[in-house]
């Protein structure tokens, strides 16, 4: 398709999406939209669309038209129901009536729910019985395994074992992961899951967490193939802030136990 026609097609599709969205968001009469005309426009441009983003735009426009058709159905159903009255008439009436008259009308149709929120003698009795059998707080704490310990000393190794201190500083960990990424890709790229995947789920999560920082700080880039949904990582020779390369986008990547198990099975196959 010539570039000029391509840009017209994109503009038309965008216009259709905006039009349908405004009808939905502003609650306008959905029959203001000529659905046949919009479908004709889509049909006219569809054979010339070949880029994935153009096809996505076309699908979005079609989805918006479907939403308008759904609204048209609802609109007809509402108009045919016994509850339907012209909103304009009601609004006029609301504006013309005094507050007192409005309240009077409302009181004629208002049947408030009746409910009690007070304590009863049986529940009070039950509560007292519970209080009588409840041991004092210091006894309960002792029973729960809490005991007083004198202050003491501990070593750095113990704190690392208890995961209170990290073994390596965060920046050191990032650096070693970056070196590993460069080593494993050798100037090329690697599948995201092949890089973060590890023998245990816990370690996989840790690597995914660190990798997200590699990407955010500009040590590497994430490439996504929209058709196959495959993600690859490519290391950069020098850390480059994201803004200097291209537009940054956030991308949530679920690391679920099921995904990890699937990766393990694929690797072993």
């Amino acid at each position: 398709m010539p570039p000029k026609k391509r840009s017209i097609a994109e503009e038309e599709l965008q216009r259709i999406i905006e039009l349908c969205r405004s009808i939905e968001e502003r609650g306008l009469n959905p029959f203001l939209v000529d659905v046949d005309e919009l479908v004709t426009i889509l049909r006219e441009y569809f054979p010339d669309l070949d880029k994935p983003e153009e096809l996505c735009l076309d699908a979005e426009a079609l989805n918006s038209i479907a939403s308008v058709i759904r609204l048209q159905g609802e609109w007809v159903r509402r108009r045919s129901s016994s509850l339907y009255r012209d909103p304009f008439l009601i609004e006029e009436k609301i504006r013309s009536l005094s507050r007192e008259r409005l309240a009077e009308v409302f009181l004629k149709v208002w049947r408030p729910i009746i409910e009690f929120e007070q304590i009863t003698i049986p529940s009070l009795r039950q509560a007292l019985k519970y209080w009588g059998t409840l041991p004092p707080l210091d006894e309960r704490w002792l029973r729960g395994g809490l005991f007083i310990r004198e202050p003491g000393t501990t070593t750095e190794e113990d704190l690392i074992k208890q995961r209170i201190l990290a073994e390596k500083a965060f920046s050191e960990e990032l650096n070693s992961l970056w070196v590993e990424l460069k080593r494993r890709t050798r100037g090329g790229k690697i599948r995201y899951w092949d890089f973060i995947g590890a023998e245990t789920y816990q370690e996989t999560i840790r690597r995914a967490y660190l990798t997200s920082f590699l990407l955010t700080y500009g040590y590497a880039t994430l490439e996504v193939n929209p058709l196959e949904g495959e993600m690859t990582i490519r290391p950069l020779d020098e850390p480059t802030p994201v803004g200097e390369r291209e537009q940054a986008i956030s991308m949530p990547i679920p690391i679920t136990p099921e995904e990890w198990m699937r990766w393990l099975r694929e690797r072993e196959a």
Binding site: G27, L97, R101, A103, K108, V109, W110, I114, F116
Partner: protein, 201 residues
């Protein structure tokens, strides 16, 4: 003689069941008042619709009633009893309130008018209306600072709900307490008061 004894036993049985039903319906057990049909079935047995109907007859003398609200929006009375397990049962007033009584319940006339406006406007728009439009309509007769306070209060009480797109919709309490069709009919039929001449200086 035997027939009489059986009848007495049945009467005693239903009296006990009515008391149980009354306790269930009067006291709030969940975040939202009322009891679900399946809860009544569990507590009262499979003939709970009959117990509720007897209780409703008894409450009529006290100007109270048991109101059933269908989750699927089926009007009261049209839902077959065997499909009532998912419905919610409330106890409401049978007749209306006078303005003086409403005031005793803690509702000022301004607040009631604002509730009437918000609810009827949302109904007229098919059950959903932008909060901004409702606010603008309320501001015609209520001071601006009070509009927000009122709308938030109605949302908190469950008369109206608000979604993430700032659209207001009719919520559970309006469905339980307000006859929406009658409200619109009365509103359209209400006579507008003649404009008063400005006071003489």
């Amino acid at each position: 003689m035997v027939k009489g004894a059986r009848s007495l036993r049945r009467k005693a049985y239903y009296t006990i069941k009515m008391k149980q039903a009354s306790h269930l319906l009067f006291y709030r057990r969940h975040k939202i008042p009322g009891v679900k049909g399946w809860e009544l079935r569990r507590a009262l047995g499979s003939d709970y619709p009959k117990v509720i109907s007897l209780l409703d007859d008894y409450l009529e003398k006290l100007d109270l009633k048991v109101k059933v609200i269908s989750e699927e929006g089926v009007p009261e009375g049209e839902m077959p009893p065997e499909r009532r397990d998912r419905d919610r049962f409330y106890r409401t007033l049978r007749g209306g309130l006078t303005p003086k009584e409403a005031k005793l319940l803690g509702w000022r006339i301004d607040d009631l008018a604002a509730l009437a406006v918000a609810v009827s406007y949302i109904i007229s728009k098919g059950g959903k209306a932008p909060r901004k439009e409702v606010e603008e309509l309320l501001r015609v007769k209520i001071p601006g600072w009070k509009v927000d306070v009122n709308l938030d209060r109605f949302i908190r009480y469950g008369y109206i709900g608000e979604d993430e797109n700032a659209q207001l919709y009719i919520d559970w309490r309006t469905r339980a307490e307000v006859d929406q069709k009658e409200l619109i009919d009365l509103l359209l039929g209400a006579e507008t008061e003649p404009m008063k001449p400005p006071p003489e200086r």
